[in-house]
Symmetry: C2
Subunit: 138 residues, 2 copies
């Protein structure tokens, strides 16, 4: 399951995607518009910025905006930044790999099944983007 934080991230990003190219958007605008706790949202947007998905501008007329086109931000990237691994087991994760204790990975049947599952999931999450989210909305 995705954390509430990740769901907030998606909602904030959708809003920024809808307003792509219109200049900086205030945190508090996103907060009230998408009903996300202000200070909590602050942290989320900051993380997304550090992950190079967002750009920010301080001072009057400032705010947040997408650094790249909504078509270039896929769902897997967002989930990895805010939620963490996509694979169901650490020993199967591409970006958050951790070795299994007491298990010969080469011959582990559980691992094999989870690898197949991960590939099927990633095939979707890496192909779908913020653009798909906002244009599926109709």
């Amino acid at each position: 399951m995705l954390s509430k934080k990740t769901r907030y991230a998606f909602r904030a990003l959708s809003y920024l995607a809808e307003n792509y190219g219109k200049g900086p958007i205030l945190i508090c605008t996103i907060s009230t518009e998408k009903k996300i706790p202000l200070k909590f949202l602050e942290g989320i947007l900051n993380e997304l910025k550090k992950a190079n998905l967002l750009e920010s501008k301080k001072g009057k007329g400032g705010g947040y905006f997408l650094k790249i086109s909504p078509k270039k931000i896929n769902l897997a990237t967002v989930i990895r930044v805010i939620n963490g691994p996509i694979a169901l087991l650490p020993c199967v994760s591409l970006n958050f790999y951790e070795k299994c204790e007491d298990c010969d990975e080469e011959h582990c049947g559980i691992r094999k099944m989870m690898t197949i599952t991960r590939d099927a999931t990633l095939k979707i999450l890496e192909r779908k983007t913020l653009h798909d989210i906002i244009f599926a909305t109709v």
Copy 2:
């Protein structure tokens, strides 16, 4: 990510699958063989029993054993019993559905993407069984 408990469940079930048809297996045998904390394992096996995947026998010569063939126990079932929902959002879950607050599900783009993801994941997890786990081990 699957919890450690779920991983224990899979390892215990694999062991029982390998010994399918050989009568009851002691908790403590599974515990030492698969390196799972005894008392913790007790609870796991009990839950799997309540979910009708296992059968148990009390007293001397007792133990646990699979209630049905390893070919008939798919991975999605196990995950749902021990870990919970498979979908990435509650509003997309088939077995643990919860309504979204503040979101028109019919027109929610995030939901649409997560539904597609869920279907891709389930297609694998519902098709693969304990039998596939133990025979992928070679």
